[in-house]
Symmetry: C2
Subunit: 328 residues, 2 copies
């Protein structure tokens, strides 16, 4: 735990606009230590101004370049931008799927652009929580646009769409069969669909296929959450800057759309419920890990191994021990 | 909840060998209702005799045919066999990836072969728990070999490897690049690697590639769990019955291997810990769902939306409410 005065100094520095202090706070928040509680308690009341844009899609679809061009476009409009890259990890090894951190040379010298790569962690829930906390800090520090990139490995994308106000799904031309294999949840949680690298052949066919999926397939909004936002399919070529202007406009249109009526409140409400759920499950999981080192748990396991007790009854016996630890 | 006498009659019938009663009990257990507690409490003490074989691998690799041939081989040795097919579901729609249930014509008339397809459910944890419970019932009912098939969609495979005593990973020839994309956890959790459809070209190359991955790559056993089981790579052509005899022998060798020393106890211990964890997390998740309908939670969410309270503090305030519900 950081010395409270040092933490206070970091928080004041970050709120005053010091990038160095922002970076140090983000590291603390990312590690989800107790200090993260203090930091979020201080920053959350100052949040709620930024527009968060989730960028998801398969590796190789050109997300980093797209984000760089989007960030440049926002900068030319005078808006400050933060970029968060999220790497999920494989269940066992903890190794990141993408070895290299993104590099964005055109933005490197700009003091109003903040870039951050998140270290990988075991479970997508923990990642979603840490991402939400990072966005809260960046939001409170006054960044007007926060771009969150994920590598398109499934669950973490769906989780990130809960943090983001606008979610982009980046596709490539000629993915053909792969598009049909898109997890339903990813298409459903996207607000804007892109065919990037549209200079390659097959871009138009891919755009048509996506359009068809949106109209007839799993891309339709789920029942009971009828939305009047018609998801657009855009063609971009990020390396050439082609289509970026249109994209910025469409994102802006979506930003206005969700600010009408109760939509933003509903979106925030869903995100908060999801956050509470992952936070609480992470706490229980941690309590479970701790409990496994207790002699009582060893006794319980021995009885299970001797078939004197069944595992469902054992779970019920373990619960009071866990909940007692959670109450501390 | 089923009438206790009716449940008793079902349990007695199943233990006496009635397939119809086994089927009905499995349906109750799969739905994870309160009756599942009663059933598992009655069956778990009678379990521990069966050898459970997990069969995982990409869709189209021929798992169902392989399982059918394995089951026939066990039947010709006079052993009773149960087959459980597990379908994971996409996070949003709840729709199964595989539309059709497996059909195994050669086994359909055999009273000593029991087949079961599990309905899909939302989270891989719940699936792992329900699978473990089903295996417990089948084990107690005297099935000597239980074959568990998963569709190779990632997390559920790793979970199933915890339920199984021996895990097979079924590959196809000429997957080339895909093999290198294999999730590390899946290769690590497999005990025997197969190249099925070995009549197709590229089988030998695929086998060599797998062998190389085992020797140098993520397929090696993780540090601290040093095992002296050398994972074999076998070539099979299930449709022709080719390689099945060898496979049965290798599975038998692995069965003997894990029965030496403390290995089986250690494996069961890990599986029990995993079961306790998923059961408890499922209970907390359910309590969370229930809590979301309480007026107190609404008040909490409203304060969060007004930025009067931050989400980490809110999670701490929600915990006592949840744990109180779990103690009931």
């Amino acid at each position: 735990m950081t010395d409270p005065e040092a933490l206070d100094a970091l928080i004041s520095g970050a709120l005053a606009g010091s990038r160095r202090e922002v970076g140090r706070l983000l590291s603390i928040v990312e590690n989800q230590s107790e200090d993260a509680d203090t930091i979020i308690a201080r920053f959350y009341p100052r949040s709620g101004q930024t527009h968060t844009i989730g960028v998801t899609g398969a590796p190789g679809s050109g997300k980093s370049t797209l984000i760089e061009k989007l960030a440049l476009a926002y900068r030319s409009q005078g808006q400050s931008v933060a970029i968060v890259a999220v790497d999920p990890s494989s269940p066992y090894t903890g190794g990141a799927l993408l070895g290299d951190r993104i590099r964005m040379p055109e933005l490197a010298g700009d003091a109003n652009v903040f870039m951050r790569s998140m270290a990988s962690r075991g479970n997508p829930g923990g990642l979603a929580q840490a991402t939400a906390d990072l966005v809260t800090v960046l939001d409170a520090c006054g960044f007007e646009r926060v771009l969150v990139e994920t590598v398109g490995a499934g669950q973490s994308d769906v989780a990130v769409s809960e943090v983001a106000h606008t979610t982009l799904l980046v596709n490539m031309p000629e993915m053909g069969d792969q598009i049909q294999m898109l997890k339903a949840g990813i298409l459903e949680s996207a607000d804007i669909l892109l065919v990037n690298k549209c200079d390659l052949s097959g871009a138009q066919r891919t755009a048509s296929l996506l359009q068809a999926l949106l109209e007839t397939g799993p891309g339709r909004s789920p029942c009971g959450t009828a939305s009047d936002w018609v998801k657009p399919v855009l063609c971009t070529c990020a390396t050439e800057g082609q289509g970026i202007e249109d994209l910025v406009e469409v994102i802006e249109a979506h930003r206005h759309h969700i600010r009408e009526g109760d939509r933003l409140q509903e979106k925030r409400r869903r995100a908060l419920i999801s956050y509470l759920r992952t936070t609480i499950l992470a706490a229980v999981s941690q309590a479970m890990d701790d409990a496994l080192h207790l002699p009582e748990t060893d006794t319980l396991l021995d009885r299970l191994l001797r078939l004197e007790l069944d595992p469902r009854t054992a779970a019920k016996q373990l619960l009071p021990e866990l909940t007692a630890r959670l109450r501390k």
